[in-house]
């Protein structure tokens, strides 16, 4: 599939934004509103910027952005529509939370609202994952590992960013590192499993079934219907050389998981936590690479006709 920059940007940036909201609110519940309002507000602004920037980038990718509100109507059947509904729903709820937190920072009954916001944020990332994992025509995405990857990477990048912001605002919480380490390991395993499954290529769709033929026949394209390119080839015919994709996977794993993990260990050993900001930067690069591969490596069943 063609790796469109707007979708890569949208999925990574907004995933991180939702991860940041989740981290922030879990933190609020967990340590009992010890964050000053101004620190809360800064984190809130960063997360909203990421989420909204991602949404905007995906809206601009549409042919008719001015009709985008139509996309909220089909939540009964479409995961894309559900994603939109959850994304919109988050704004008023978190605005109310922020207002109430400002009025009374010690109000523990706000935790109930936190849980609702956390659930909406999780539902949004889950829907994003589902958009892809429910497409049977694209074997590499058609697995719950896709949804898991979206959730895990959203949570991980969000927590990593939260940790960096806390450091910059002068907080230091050793506990966060343990959660980070666990999340890195889980996300990494999820991604490796995704690639293992992709390489098994256990799809039953092939050139023979595409033509309704018996499978022992050998099918070669003799004449393409058109000698220039077309929408299908441009949108779905993206090919990365196998050799390159293997190399790129290693780079993605290195940047997204292995380097951040090593840096976090190092920061614990050295008791110098500010270097984890570097880990965040590496992780972002790795996740961009991962998302690019997610699209570039995906083969659409229509390519059996070309």
């Amino acid at each position: 599939m063609h790796p469109a920059k707007s979708i890569i940007l949208f999925t990574t940036i907004s995933g991180m934004g939702y991860g940041l909201i989740i981290s922030l609110l879990i933190f609020q519940i967990y340590v009992g509103h010890t964050l000053s309002f101004i620190s809360y507000f800064l984190t809130f602004v960063v997360s909203m910027t990421l989420v909204s920037g991602g949404l905007l980038s995906s809206t601009l990718h549409l042919g008719h952005p001015e009709r985008a509100h139509f996309a909220l109507t089909q939540w009964r059947s479409s995961w894309l529509s559900r994603e939109g509904v959850f994304a919109i729903l988050l704004y008023p709820v978190i605005a109310i939370y922020t207002l109430l937190f400002y009025l009374n920072p010690d109000n523990r009954s706000l935790d109930a609202l936190s849980i609702i916001i956390i659930l909406i944020a999780i539902a949004t990332i889950f829907s994003t994952g589902k958009i892809y994992s429910s497409l049977r025509a694209i074997y590499s995405w058609n697995t719950e590992l896709t949804t898991f990857n979206y959730l895990a990477l959203g949570g991980l990048t969000g927590l990593m960013l939260f940790q960096s912001l806390l450091l910059l605002m002068g907080y230091n919480l050793a506990n966060v590192y343990y959660y980070l380490i666990i999340l890195i390991i889980f996300s990494c395993i999820g991604k490796i499993l995704y690639w293992v499954r992709l390489d098994l290529n256990n799809t039953t769709t092939n050139k023979s079934t595409a033509l309704g033929l018996k499978s022992q026949l050998q099918v070669n394209l003799l004449e393409s219907p058109h000698d220039a390119s077309n929408f299908l080839l441009k949108e779905m015919g993206y090919k990365v050389a196998r050799k390159h994709s293997k190399k790129l996977r290693k780079i993605a794993l290195l940047f997204a998981f292995i380097l951040p993990l090593l840096i976090i260990f190092l920061s614990i050993v050295l008791n110098f936590y500010h270097i984890t900001i570097l880990a965040f930067l590496f992780m972002i690069m790795g996740v961009f690479m991962e998302r690019w591969l997610f699209f570039a490596e995906a083969k659409h069943s229509v390519m059996n006709y070309y």
Binding site: G63, R67, I131, Q218, H226, A228
Partner: protein
């Protein structure tokens, strides 16, 4: 509404006979011609006389070379590809706006160009590549089953079939109600054991394809000559074996 109702009794569709299709592209061209002024008009073309022409087509004819290694036979297969108006159309259920829908009265899958936001998700969901995005109108387009021709009371009765069906010089395309087991098309499918494309995708296509009748596995046809490297497969007489041994 992009939920599927799945209770339409009338299932209009095409039956395409790959045995007699000669790959002339007449269906593709006449589809383009009719639909350039039809329900989903225009079918935008770009750069028509330039280096990289591009444009929207609802029907594309591929030609394949089929080799049957078992019987050492081969043949050419011409294959027109258009929307199959699937019963379980994944392109419809993914649509966030309701622009993509399957008609309850006859099962035709259509796009409402006034509601489509051009997110292209439906084209990803269709396993067959039956949907093409219009870069100028910025909405999705697809085969309409010539909905504006088959019900057109201004046309004589016999012309109320899709343009591609009218155009086919060999009669390889038939149109009718595949939901009615007594219709001519259903009988044709039964007689010729019509098949679904990619049945494992579970889209339940309405359109059926009829495979070539005689050529498959018929060893009486002329043998292919490109397998001369594989002499051990053939029955050689003693002299031939001797020559083969010396030469190889």
């Amino acid at each position: 509404m992009t939920s599927l109702h799945n209770n339409n009794k009338i299932k209009l569709g095409l039956v395409i006979d790959l045995d007699i299709c000669v790959g002339c592209h007449a269906c593709a061209v006449s589809c383009k011609e009719w639909n350039s002024g039809g329900h989903s008009a225009p079918l935008t073309d770009l750069n028509t006389s330039g280096e990289n022409p591009d444009g929207v087509w609802f029907n594309r004819v591929h030609t394949f070379e089929i080799l049957d290694e078992e019987s050492d036979n081969g043949y050419t297969l011409n294959f027109p590809r258009s929307c199959l108006h699937c019963d379980d159309a994944p392109c419809v259920t993914v649509c966030p706006t309701g622009a993509s829908y399957k008609r309850e009265e006859d099962g035709i899958v259509l796009v409402n160009p006034d509601a489509c936001i051009g997110c292209k998700l439906c084209s990803w969901a269709c396993p067959y590549g039956a949907r093409e995005y219009d870069q100028v109108e910025k909405v999705m387009k697809k085969c309409t089953l010539c909905v504006d021709k088959i019900y057109n009371s201004n046309l004589p009765e016999e012309s109320r079939v899709p343009a591609c069906v009218s155009a086919c010089p060999t009669g390889a395309r038939s149109f009718g109600d595949l939901g009615d087991s007594n219709s001519q098309v259903s009988k044709l499918v039964e007689e010729r054991k019509g098949v679904d494309l990619m049945p494992e995708q579970e889209t339940k296509p309405v359109n059926k394809y009829l495979l070539p009748k005689r050529r498959l596995g018929n060893t009486r046809n002329a043998p292919r000559m490109n397998n001369f490297n594989n002499l051990e497969n053939k029955k050689l007489n003693i002299l031939e074996r001797f020559v083969d041994k010396i030469l190889s």
